[in-house]
Symmetry: C2
Subunit: 290 residues, 2 copies
Protein backbone atom coordinates (compact mmCIF):
# COMPACT_ATOMS: atom_id res chain seq x y z
CA UNK A 1 0.00 0.00 0.00
CA UNK A 2 1.63 3.23 -1.18
CA UNK A 3 1.40 6.31 1.04
CA UNK A 4 2.03 9.96 0.20
CA UNK A 5 5.37 11.61 -0.56
CA UNK A 6 5.14 13.66 2.63
CA UNK A 7 4.47 10.61 4.77
CA UNK A 8 7.55 8.81 3.45
CA UNK A 9 9.58 12.00 3.80
CA UNK A 10 8.51 12.41 7.44
CA UNK A 11 9.23 8.74 8.16
CA UNK A 12 12.75 9.01 6.75
CA UNK A 13 13.48 12.35 8.44
CA UNK A 14 12.33 11.10 11.85
CA UNK A 15 14.55 8.03 11.60
CA UNK A 16 17.70 9.67 10.24
CA UNK A 17 19.35 11.02 13.42
CA UNK A 18 18.24 8.16 15.74
CA UNK A 19 19.72 5.75 13.18
CA UNK A 20 23.04 7.58 13.43
CA UNK A 21 22.91 7.73 17.24
CA UNK A 22 22.15 4.00 17.43
CA UNK A 23 25.71 3.34 16.24
CA UNK A 24 27.11 4.30 19.65
CA UNK A 25 29.10 7.15 21.14
CA UNK A 26 30.32 9.53 18.45
CA UNK A 27 32.71 12.43 19.27
CA UNK A 28 30.62 15.56 19.84
CA UNK A 29 32.06 17.74 17.09
CA UNK A 30 31.96 14.98 14.48
CA UNK A 31 28.37 14.18 15.34
CA UNK A 32 27.39 17.85 15.21
CA UNK A 33 28.83 18.16 11.71
CA UNK A 34 27.09 15.01 10.47
CA UNK A 35 23.76 16.03 12.01
CA UNK A 36 24.10 19.58 10.64
CA UNK A 37 24.27 18.30 7.08
CA UNK A 38 21.68 15.55 7.56
CA UNK A 39 19.24 18.12 8.97
CA UNK A 40 19.86 20.63 6.20
CA UNK A 41 16.83 19.13 4.54
CA UNK A 42 16.18 18.88 0.87
CA UNK A 43 13.51 16.88 -0.87
CA UNK A 44 14.65 13.50 0.53
CA UNK A 45 13.93 12.11 -2.93
CA UNK A 46 16.18 9.05 -2.54
CA UNK A 47 14.84 7.67 0.77
CA UNK A 48 11.27 8.47 -0.28
CA UNK A 49 11.71 6.54 -3.53
CA UNK A 50 13.32 3.60 -1.71
CA UNK A 51 10.46 3.35 0.80
CA UNK A 52 7.78 3.78 -1.86
CA UNK A 53 9.37 1.22 -4.20
CA UNK A 54 9.44 -1.29 -1.37
CA UNK A 55 5.77 -0.73 -0.52
CA UNK A 56 4.73 -0.62 -4.19
CA UNK A 57 6.13 -4.15 -4.57
CA UNK A 58 4.39 -5.39 -1.42
CA UNK A 59 7.24 -5.02 1.08
CA UNK A 60 7.36 -3.40 4.52
CA UNK A 61 8.64 0.18 4.86
CA UNK A 62 9.96 -0.65 8.34
CA UNK A 63 12.36 -3.21 6.87
CA UNK A 64 13.45 -0.69 4.24
CA UNK A 65 13.92 2.26 6.61
CA UNK A 66 17.61 1.64 7.55
CA UNK A 67 18.45 1.36 3.84
CA UNK A 68 16.52 4.55 3.06
CA UNK A 69 18.44 6.39 5.80
CA UNK A 70 21.74 4.91 4.62
CA UNK A 71 21.08 6.16 1.10
CA UNK A 72 20.38 9.67 2.41
CA UNK A 73 23.63 9.50 4.43
CA UNK A 74 25.49 8.62 1.24
CA UNK A 75 23.83 11.45 -0.67
CA UNK A 76 24.69 13.85 2.19
CA UNK A 77 28.35 12.78 2.39
CA UNK A 78 28.67 13.30 -1.35
CA UNK A 79 27.39 16.87 -1.01
CA UNK A 80 29.80 17.64 1.87
CA UNK A 81 32.83 16.40 -0.08
CA UNK A 82 31.53 17.95 -3.31
CA UNK A 83 31.43 21.38 -1.66
CA UNK A 84 35.04 21.24 -0.38
CA UNK A 85 37.48 23.95 -1.56
CA UNK A 86 39.46 21.40 -3.60
CA UNK A 87 36.24 20.26 -5.31
CA UNK A 88 33.42 22.71 -6.21
CA UNK A 89 34.41 25.19 -3.47
CA UNK A 90 30.82 26.12 -2.54
CA UNK A 91 30.04 28.26 0.50
CA UNK A 92 26.30 27.81 0.51
CA UNK A 93 24.09 24.74 0.38
CA UNK A 94 20.33 24.70 0.99
CA UNK A 95 20.52 28.22 2.39
CA UNK A 96 23.14 27.39 5.02
CA UNK A 97 26.94 27.62 5.11
CA UNK A 98 28.48 24.43 3.74
CA UNK A 99 30.07 21.97 6.17
CA UNK A 100 33.66 23.17 5.77
CA UNK A 101 32.51 26.77 6.25
CA UNK A 102 30.68 25.84 9.46
CA UNK A 103 33.10 23.27 10.93
CA UNK A 104 36.43 23.64 9.14
CA UNK A 105 37.77 21.59 6.30
CA UNK A 106 39.23 18.75 8.41
CA UNK A 107 35.94 18.07 10.19
CA UNK A 108 34.04 18.32 6.90
CA UNK A 109 36.27 15.64 5.37
CA UNK A 110 35.80 13.40 8.43
CA UNK A 111 32.04 14.05 8.58
CA UNK A 112 31.78 12.95 4.95
CA UNK A 113 33.87 9.83 5.57
CA UNK A 114 31.80 9.21 8.69
CA UNK A 115 28.48 9.38 6.86
CA UNK A 116 29.63 7.02 4.11
CA UNK A 117 30.93 4.58 6.71
CA UNK A 118 27.80 4.97 8.85
CA UNK A 119 25.64 4.16 5.84
CA UNK A 120 27.42 0.84 5.33
CA UNK A 121 27.32 0.14 9.07
CA UNK A 122 23.59 0.84 9.36
CA UNK A 123 22.90 -1.45 6.40
CA UNK A 124 25.16 -4.24 7.68
CA UNK A 125 23.40 -4.18 11.07
CA UNK A 126 20.00 -4.20 9.36
CA UNK A 127 21.06 -7.09 7.12
CA UNK A 128 22.11 -9.13 10.17
CA UNK A 129 18.66 -8.47 11.69
CA UNK A 130 16.77 -9.38 8.49
CA UNK A 131 18.71 -12.64 8.50
CA UNK A 132 18.13 -13.64 4.86
CA UNK A 133 19.79 -12.42 1.68
CA UNK A 134 17.42 -9.51 0.91
CA UNK A 135 19.26 -7.06 3.15
CA UNK A 136 22.70 -7.88 1.90
CA UNK A 137 21.47 -7.71 -1.73
CA UNK A 138 20.01 -4.24 -1.09
CA UNK A 139 23.30 -3.20 0.47
CA UNK A 140 25.27 -4.52 -2.49
CA UNK A 141 23.02 -2.56 -4.87
CA UNK A 142 23.41 0.68 -2.92
CA UNK A 143 27.19 0.46 -2.44
CA UNK A 144 27.65 -0.41 -6.13
CA UNK A 145 25.64 2.58 -7.38
CA UNK A 146 27.40 4.86 -4.88
CA UNK A 147 30.86 3.61 -5.75
CA UNK A 148 33.73 3.81 -8.18
CA UNK A 149 31.66 2.53 -11.11
CA UNK A 150 28.70 4.68 -10.02
CA UNK A 151 28.36 8.03 -8.30
CA UNK A 152 32.07 8.46 -7.52
CA UNK A 153 32.89 7.68 -11.18
CA UNK A 154 30.49 10.45 -12.26
CA UNK A 155 31.93 12.82 -9.71
CA UNK A 156 35.47 12.11 -10.93
CA UNK A 157 34.64 12.75 -14.58
CA UNK A 158 32.79 15.91 -13.55
CA UNK A 159 35.79 17.42 -11.74
CA UNK A 160 38.34 16.45 -14.39
CA UNK A 161 36.15 17.72 -17.24
CA UNK A 162 35.85 21.30 -15.98
CA UNK A 163 36.58 23.83 -18.68
CA UNK A 164 36.57 21.24 -21.46
CA UNK A 165 34.46 21.43 -24.63
CA UNK A 166 30.99 19.97 -24.01
CA UNK A 167 30.68 16.44 -25.33
CA UNK A 168 27.41 14.51 -25.35
CA UNK A 169 28.85 11.07 -24.56
CA UNK A 170 30.95 12.36 -21.68
CA UNK A 171 28.16 14.53 -20.28
CA UNK A 172 25.68 11.65 -20.43
CA UNK A 173 28.24 9.55 -18.53
CA UNK A 174 28.59 12.24 -15.86
CA UNK A 175 24.83 12.72 -15.47
CA UNK A 176 24.15 8.98 -15.47
CA UNK A 177 26.63 8.30 -12.73
CA UNK A 178 26.71 11.49 -10.69
CA UNK A 179 22.94 11.84 -10.50
CA UNK A 180 21.00 8.85 -11.81
CA UNK A 181 22.99 6.17 -9.99
CA UNK A 182 21.67 6.97 -6.50
CA UNK A 183 18.10 7.13 -7.83
CA UNK A 184 18.60 3.73 -9.44
CA UNK A 185 19.92 2.51 -6.10
CA UNK A 186 16.76 3.78 -4.37
CA UNK A 187 14.32 1.99 -6.65
CA UNK A 188 16.35 -1.21 -7.07
CA UNK A 189 17.09 -1.59 -3.34
CA UNK A 190 13.46 -0.90 -2.39
CA UNK A 191 12.26 -3.52 -4.85
CA UNK A 192 14.92 -6.03 -3.77
CA UNK A 193 13.87 -5.64 -0.13
CA UNK A 194 10.29 -6.43 -1.16
CA UNK A 195 11.50 -9.59 -2.89
CA UNK A 196 10.89 -8.39 -6.47
CA UNK A 197 12.41 -10.43 -9.29
CA UNK A 198 15.37 -9.45 -11.48
CA UNK A 199 13.20 -8.33 -14.40
CA UNK A 200 11.16 -6.01 -12.18
CA UNK A 201 14.29 -4.63 -10.56
CA UNK A 202 15.79 -3.95 -13.98
CA UNK A 203 12.70 -2.06 -15.17
CA UNK A 204 12.82 -0.05 -11.95
CA UNK A 205 16.44 0.79 -12.71
CA UNK A 206 15.49 1.94 -16.21
CA UNK A 207 12.80 4.24 -14.83
CA UNK A 208 15.26 5.74 -12.35
CA UNK A 209 17.93 6.24 -15.00
CA UNK A 210 15.59 8.35 -17.15
CA UNK A 211 14.33 10.18 -14.08
CA UNK A 212 17.93 10.93 -13.09
CA UNK A 213 18.82 12.30 -16.51
CA UNK A 214 15.69 14.51 -16.43
CA UNK A 215 16.67 15.59 -12.92
CA UNK A 216 20.15 16.66 -13.96
CA UNK A 217 18.86 18.48 -17.05
CA UNK A 218 16.36 20.44 -14.97
CA UNK A 219 19.17 21.07 -12.47
CA UNK A 220 21.25 22.63 -15.22
CA UNK A 221 18.21 24.71 -16.25
CA UNK A 222 17.67 25.92 -12.68
CA UNK A 223 21.30 26.97 -12.40
CA UNK A 224 20.69 29.37 -15.32
CA UNK A 225 17.06 30.35 -14.87
CA UNK A 226 16.39 29.60 -11.19
CA UNK A 227 15.95 31.87 -8.19
CA UNK A 228 18.90 31.65 -5.77
CA UNK A 229 16.65 32.59 -2.83
CA UNK A 230 14.25 29.72 -3.55
CA UNK A 231 17.04 27.25 -4.22
CA UNK A 232 19.16 28.15 -1.19
CA UNK A 233 22.36 27.99 -3.18
CA UNK A 234 24.22 30.19 -5.61
CA UNK A 235 23.00 30.09 -9.19
CA UNK A 236 25.38 30.41 -12.14
CA UNK A 237 27.75 28.23 -10.12
CA UNK A 238 28.22 25.85 -13.03
CA UNK A 239 29.79 28.27 -15.50
CA UNK A 240 33.07 26.35 -15.62
CA UNK A 241 31.28 23.03 -15.79
CA UNK A 242 30.13 20.95 -18.66
CA UNK A 243 26.32 21.25 -18.65
CA UNK A 244 23.50 20.09 -20.88
CA UNK A 245 22.75 23.74 -21.65
CA UNK A 246 26.20 24.30 -23.14
CA UNK A 247 25.42 21.33 -25.38
CA UNK A 248 21.77 21.89 -26.33
CA UNK A 249 20.77 25.40 -25.19
CA UNK A 250 17.85 26.17 -22.87
CA UNK A 251 15.05 25.04 -25.21
CA UNK A 252 16.90 21.92 -26.31
CA UNK A 253 17.57 20.96 -22.69
CA UNK A 254 13.91 21.47 -21.80
CA UNK A 255 12.76 19.22 -24.62
CA UNK A 256 15.39 16.56 -23.81
CA UNK A 257 14.19 16.57 -20.20
CA UNK A 258 10.61 16.04 -21.41
CA UNK A 259 11.78 13.12 -23.52
CA UNK A 260 13.50 11.53 -20.50
CA UNK A 261 10.31 11.90 -18.44
CA UNK A 262 8.38 10.21 -21.26
CA UNK A 263 10.88 7.31 -21.30
CA UNK A 264 10.63 7.00 -17.50
CA UNK A 265 6.85 6.66 -17.87
CA UNK A 266 7.26 4.00 -20.57
CA UNK A 267 9.34 1.92 -18.18
CA UNK A 268 6.60 2.17 -15.55
CA UNK A 269 4.04 0.92 -18.11
CA UNK A 270 5.83 -2.43 -18.06
CA UNK A 271 5.31 -2.97 -14.33
CA UNK A 272 2.21 -4.73 -12.97
CA UNK A 273 1.99 -2.64 -9.77
CA UNK A 274 0.23 0.67 -9.16
CA UNK A 275 2.94 3.03 -10.41
CA UNK A 276 1.07 6.35 -10.02
CA UNK A 277 3.42 7.50 -7.24
CA UNK A 278 6.48 7.21 -9.45
CA UNK A 279 4.70 8.65 -12.48
CA UNK A 280 3.92 11.76 -10.47
CA UNK A 281 7.54 12.14 -9.37
CA UNK A 282 8.61 12.03 -13.00
CA UNK A 283 5.95 14.50 -14.14
CA UNK A 284 6.80 16.93 -11.33
CA UNK A 285 10.42 16.92 -12.41
CA UNK A 286 9.55 19.29 -15.25
CA UNK A 287 8.00 21.80 -12.81
CA UNK A 288 10.98 21.87 -10.40
CA UNK A 289 11.67 25.19 -8.68
CA UNK A 290 14.52 23.85 -6.47
Amino acid sequence: MIRTYDEYKAQAEQALIPMLSSLGEIPEKLKQAMVYSLEAGGKRLRPVMLLAACEMAGGQADTALPFACALEMIHTYSLIHDDLPAMDNDDLRRGKPTSHKAFGENIAILAGDGLLNAAAEVMAKAAVRIGDLRGIRAMEIIMRHAGVTGMIAGQTMDVISEGKTPDKTLLTYIHTHKTADLLEAAVEAGLALAGANDREIDIGREYALHLGLAFQMTDDLLDVTGDAAVMGKNTHADENKMTWIALKGIEGTRSDAEEQVRLAGEALDRLAWDTAFFREIADNMLQRKQ
Copy 2:
Protein backbone atom coordinates in the same frame (compact mmCIF):
# COMPACT_ATOMS: atom_id res chain seq x y z
CA MET B 1 46.65 -24.57 9.36
CA ILE B 2 48.54 -21.32 9.82
CA ARG B 3 51.04 -20.28 7.16
CA THR B 4 53.84 -17.70 7.32
CA TYR B 5 53.48 -13.93 7.49
CA ASP B 6 55.02 -13.58 4.03
CA GLU B 7 52.62 -16.09 2.51
CA TYR B 8 49.58 -14.23 3.83
CA LYS B 9 51.11 -10.93 2.75
CA ALA B 10 51.68 -12.23 -0.79
CA GLN B 11 48.17 -13.67 -0.94
CA ALA B 12 46.63 -10.34 0.08
CA GLU B 13 48.87 -8.27 -2.21
CA GLN B 14 48.12 -10.46 -5.23
CA ALA B 15 44.39 -10.16 -4.68
CA LEU B 16 44.18 -6.44 -3.92
CA ILE B 17 44.13 -4.89 -7.41
CA PRO B 18 42.12 -7.70 -9.11
CA MET B 19 39.53 -7.29 -6.32
CA LEU B 20 39.24 -3.61 -7.19
CA SER B 21 39.09 -4.29 -10.93
CA SER B 22 36.36 -6.88 -10.42
CA LEU B 23 33.99 -4.05 -9.47
CA GLY B 24 33.74 -2.96 -13.10
CA GLU B 25 34.90 -0.05 -15.23
CA ILE B 26 36.49 2.66 -13.11
CA PRO B 27 37.54 6.02 -14.61
CA GLU B 28 41.25 5.82 -15.51
CA LYS B 29 42.54 8.62 -13.31
CA LEU B 30 40.52 7.53 -10.27
CA LYS B 31 41.72 3.97 -10.64
CA GLN B 32 45.32 5.10 -11.06
CA ALA B 33 45.13 7.03 -7.81
CA MET B 34 43.54 4.16 -5.90
CA VAL B 35 46.06 1.64 -7.27
CA TYR B 36 48.97 4.01 -6.56
CA SER B 37 48.14 4.09 -2.86
CA LEU B 38 47.20 0.41 -2.63
CA GLU B 39 50.53 -0.53 -4.22
CA ALA B 40 52.56 1.78 -1.99
CA GLY B 41 53.09 -1.26 0.17
CA GLY B 42 53.58 -1.32 3.88
CA LYS B 43 53.50 -4.32 6.16
CA ARG B 44 49.92 -5.36 5.24
CA LEU B 45 49.47 -6.11 8.93
CA ARG B 46 45.66 -5.90 8.88
CA PRO B 47 44.93 -8.28 5.98
CA VAL B 48 47.64 -10.68 7.20
CA MET B 49 46.07 -10.77 10.67
CA LEU B 50 42.59 -11.28 9.24
CA LEU B 51 43.68 -14.22 7.06
CA ALA B 52 45.75 -15.79 9.86
CA ALA B 53 42.95 -15.40 12.44
CA CYS B 54 40.55 -17.12 10.07
CA GLU B 55 42.92 -20.04 9.48
CA MET B 56 43.93 -20.26 13.15
CA ALA B 57 40.26 -20.86 13.99
CA GLY B 58 39.87 -23.49 11.28
CA GLY B 59 38.40 -21.32 8.50
CA GLN B 60 39.38 -20.94 4.84
CA ALA B 61 41.64 -18.07 3.78
CA ASP B 62 39.91 -17.98 0.39
CA THR B 63 36.62 -17.08 2.05
CA ALA B 64 38.36 -14.41 4.10
CA LEU B 65 40.35 -12.87 1.23
CA PRO B 66 37.77 -10.26 0.09
CA PHE B 67 37.41 -9.08 3.68
CA ALA B 68 41.19 -8.90 4.10
CA CYS B 69 41.45 -6.80 0.93
CA ALA B 70 38.54 -4.61 2.03
CA LEU B 71 40.27 -3.92 5.33
CA GLU B 72 43.45 -2.89 3.53
CA MET B 73 41.38 -0.60 1.28
CA ILE B 74 39.92 1.03 4.38
CA HIS B 75 43.36 1.44 5.93
CA THR B 76 44.64 2.93 2.65
CA TYR B 77 41.75 5.40 2.27
CA SER B 78 42.36 6.58 5.84
CA LEU B 79 46.01 7.30 5.02
CA ILE B 80 45.08 9.24 1.86
CA HIS B 81 42.58 11.45 3.69
CA ASP B 82 44.88 11.73 6.73
CA ASP B 83 47.66 13.14 4.54
CA LEU B 84 45.46 15.87 2.96
CA PRO B 85 46.51 19.52 3.44
CA ALA B 86 43.51 20.19 5.70
CA MET B 87 44.46 17.20 7.86
CA ASP B 88 48.11 16.28 8.60
CA ASN B 89 49.41 17.92 5.40
CA ASP B 90 52.02 15.27 4.66
CA ASP B 91 53.96 15.24 1.38
CA LEU B 92 55.61 11.85 1.77
CA ARG B 93 54.24 8.43 2.63
CA ARG B 94 56.19 5.18 2.39
CA GLY B 95 58.89 6.94 0.41
CA LYS B 96 56.53 8.24 -2.29
CA PRO B 97 54.67 11.52 -2.75
CA THR B 98 51.28 11.37 -1.01
CA SER B 99 48.15 11.00 -3.12
CA HIS B 100 47.26 14.70 -3.27
CA LYS B 101 50.84 15.54 -4.24
CA ALA B 102 50.76 12.98 -7.06
CA PHE B 103 47.17 13.42 -8.31
CA GLY B 104 45.84 16.69 -6.91
CA GLU B 105 43.65 17.23 -3.89
CA ASN B 106 40.31 16.61 -5.63
CA ILE B 107 41.35 13.20 -6.95
CA ALA B 108 42.89 12.30 -3.58
CA ILE B 109 39.58 13.02 -1.84
CA LEU B 110 37.69 10.94 -4.42
CA ALA B 111 40.25 8.11 -4.33
CA GLY B 112 39.79 7.93 -0.56
CA ASP B 113 36.01 7.95 -0.84
CA GLY B 114 36.32 5.38 -3.61
CA LEU B 115 38.43 2.99 -1.54
CA LEU B 116 36.08 3.18 1.45
CA ASN B 117 33.09 2.56 -0.81
CA ALA B 118 34.91 -0.22 -2.69
CA ALA B 119 35.68 -1.94 0.62
CA ALA B 120 31.99 -2.10 1.51
CA GLU B 121 31.10 -3.17 -2.03
CA VAL B 122 33.69 -5.97 -2.11
CA MET B 123 32.43 -7.27 1.23
CA ALA B 124 28.75 -7.05 0.25
CA LYS B 125 29.43 -9.04 -2.93
CA ALA B 126 31.42 -11.62 -0.93
CA ALA B 127 28.64 -11.87 1.66
CA VAL B 128 26.07 -12.55 -1.08
CA ARG B 129 28.35 -15.34 -2.37
CA ILE B 130 28.90 -16.88 1.08
CA GLY B 131 25.15 -16.94 1.46
CA ASP B 132 24.96 -17.34 5.25
CA LEU B 133 25.40 -14.79 8.04
CA ARG B 134 29.18 -15.14 8.50
CA GLY B 135 30.03 -12.70 5.72
CA ILE B 136 27.55 -10.07 6.77
CA ARG B 137 28.73 -10.37 10.41
CA ALA B 138 32.35 -9.88 9.34
CA MET B 139 31.28 -6.86 7.33
CA GLU B 140 29.39 -5.38 10.27
CA ILE B 141 32.48 -5.85 12.48
CA ILE B 142 34.79 -4.16 9.97
CA MET B 143 32.50 -1.20 9.22
CA ARG B 144 31.88 -0.63 12.95
CA HIS B 145 35.58 -0.55 13.84
CA ALA B 146 36.31 1.69 10.84
CA GLY B 147 33.48 4.08 11.59
CA VAL B 148 32.32 7.01 13.68
CA THR B 149 32.63 5.10 16.96
CA GLY B 150 35.92 3.54 15.80
CA MET B 151 38.75 4.72 13.58
CA ILE B 152 37.04 7.92 12.40
CA ALA B 153 36.30 8.82 16.04
CA GLY B 154 39.99 8.45 16.89
CA GLN B 155 40.96 10.45 13.84
CA THR B 156 38.58 13.24 14.82
CA MET B 157 39.89 13.50 18.38
CA ASP B 158 43.44 13.43 16.99
CA VAL B 159 42.92 16.40 14.69
CA ILE B 160 40.99 18.49 17.22
CA SER B 161 43.50 17.80 20.01
CA GLU B 162 46.54 19.19 18.21
CA GLY B 163 48.53 21.60 20.35
CA LYS B 164 46.60 20.70 23.52
CA THR B 165 48.21 19.56 26.80
CA PRO B 166 48.79 15.79 26.75
CA ASP B 167 46.13 13.92 28.67
CA LYS B 168 46.28 10.17 29.30
CA THR B 169 42.55 9.46 28.98
CA LEU B 170 42.22 11.40 25.75
CA LEU B 171 45.41 9.98 24.26
CA THR B 172 44.37 6.42 25.14
CA TYR B 173 41.04 7.14 23.39
CA ILE B 174 42.86 8.38 20.28
CA HIS B 175 45.26 5.42 20.14
CA THR B 176 42.49 2.91 20.85
CA HIS B 177 40.33 4.18 18.05
CA LYS B 178 42.77 5.56 15.51
CA THR B 179 45.08 2.56 15.60
CA ALA B 180 43.76 -0.41 17.57
CA ASP B 181 40.26 -0.45 16.05
CA LEU B 182 41.32 -1.73 12.61
CA LEU B 183 43.52 -4.40 14.22
CA GLU B 184 40.55 -5.49 16.32
CA ALA B 185 38.50 -5.58 13.12
CA ALA B 186 41.11 -7.85 11.50
CA VAL B 187 41.15 -10.46 14.27
CA GLU B 188 37.41 -10.35 15.01
CA ALA B 189 36.35 -10.56 11.37
CA GLY B 190 38.82 -13.39 10.65
CA LEU B 191 37.49 -15.36 13.61
CA ALA B 192 33.85 -14.61 12.72
CA LEU B 193 34.42 -15.90 9.17
CA ALA B 194 35.78 -19.15 10.65
CA GLY B 195 32.64 -19.49 12.76
CA ALA B 196 34.31 -18.79 16.14
CA ASN B 197 32.03 -18.10 19.11
CA ASP B 198 31.46 -14.75 20.83
CA ARG B 199 33.86 -15.49 23.71
CA GLU B 200 36.67 -16.35 21.33
CA ILE B 201 36.00 -13.29 19.21
CA ASP B 202 36.08 -11.10 22.30
CA ILE B 203 39.43 -12.50 23.44
CA GLY B 204 40.75 -11.89 19.93
CA ARG B 205 39.56 -8.31 20.20
CA GLU B 206 41.36 -7.90 23.54
CA TYR B 207 44.62 -9.17 22.04
CA ALA B 208 44.32 -6.75 19.13
CA LEU B 209 43.53 -3.82 21.41
CA HIS B 210 46.76 -4.30 23.39
CA LEU B 211 48.68 -4.92 20.18
CA GLY B 212 47.25 -1.70 18.76
CA LEU B 213 48.25 0.35 21.80
CA ALA B 214 51.78 -1.12 21.64
CA PHE B 215 51.83 -0.34 17.91
CA GLN B 216 50.94 3.31 18.45
CA MET B 217 53.46 3.70 21.29
CA THR B 218 56.26 2.27 19.13
CA ASP B 219 55.03 4.55 16.33
CA ASP B 220 55.48 7.55 18.57
CA LEU B 221 58.95 6.28 19.52
CA LEU B 222 59.93 5.86 15.86
CA ASP B 223 58.83 9.40 15.08
CA VAL B 224 61.44 10.63 17.59
CA THR B 225 64.19 8.00 17.30
CA GLY B 226 63.58 6.45 13.88
CA ASP B 227 65.43 6.77 10.61
CA ALA B 228 63.44 8.71 7.99
CA ALA B 229 65.17 6.83 5.16
CA VAL B 230 64.12 3.44 6.57
CA MET B 231 60.62 4.60 7.37
CA GLY B 232 59.92 6.33 4.06
CA LYS B 233 58.26 9.27 5.75
CA ASN B 234 59.33 12.38 7.58
CA THR B 235 60.23 11.91 11.24
CA HIS B 236 59.49 14.55 13.86
CA ALA B 237 56.22 15.08 12.03
CA ASP B 238 54.23 14.72 15.26
CA GLU B 239 55.64 17.70 17.12
CA ASN B 240 52.28 19.46 17.27
CA LYS B 241 50.47 16.25 18.15
CA MET B 242 49.60 14.69 21.43
CA THR B 243 51.90 11.66 21.71
CA TRP B 244 52.65 9.07 24.35
CA ILE B 245 56.19 10.46 24.57
CA ALA B 246 54.94 13.89 25.63
CA LEU B 247 53.08 12.06 28.39
CA LYS B 248 55.60 9.46 29.56
CA GLY B 249 58.97 10.25 27.96
CA ILE B 250 60.97 7.83 25.81
CA GLU B 251 61.75 5.29 28.54
CA GLY B 252 58.25 5.40 29.99
CA THR B 253 56.76 4.86 26.53
CA ARG B 254 59.07 1.92 25.90
CA SER B 255 58.07 0.25 29.15
CA ASP B 256 54.35 0.92 28.56
CA ALA B 257 54.67 -0.68 25.11
CA GLU B 258 56.28 -3.75 26.72
CA GLU B 259 53.39 -3.96 29.18
CA GLN B 260 50.86 -3.84 26.33
CA VAL B 261 52.70 -6.65 24.53
CA ARG B 262 52.59 -8.69 27.75
CA LEU B 263 48.82 -8.11 28.04
CA ALA B 264 48.35 -9.10 24.40
CA GLY B 265 50.14 -12.38 25.16
CA GLU B 266 47.95 -12.98 28.22
CA ALA B 267 44.85 -12.72 26.03
CA LEU B 268 46.30 -15.33 23.66
CA ASP B 269 46.89 -17.70 26.62
CA ARG B 270 43.10 -17.95 26.97
CA LEU B 271 42.59 -19.29 23.44
CA ALA B 272 42.68 -23.02 22.68
CA TRP B 273 44.24 -22.64 19.22
CA ASP B 274 47.91 -22.50 18.23
CA THR B 275 48.53 -18.79 18.80
CA ALA B 276 52.27 -18.69 18.04
CA PHE B 277 51.71 -16.59 14.90
CA PHE B 278 50.01 -13.81 16.83
CA ARG B 279 52.47 -14.03 19.74
CA GLU B 280 55.30 -13.41 17.30
CA ILE B 281 53.56 -10.36 15.83
CA ALA B 282 53.23 -8.92 19.33
CA ASP B 283 56.84 -9.65 20.28
CA ASN B 284 58.14 -8.15 17.03
CA MET B 285 56.28 -4.94 17.76
CA LEU B 286 59.01 -3.95 20.24
CA GLN B 287 61.70 -4.35 17.56
CA ARG B 288 59.96 -2.22 14.90
CA LYS B 289 62.21 -0.21 12.60
CA GLN B 290 59.37 1.12 10.40
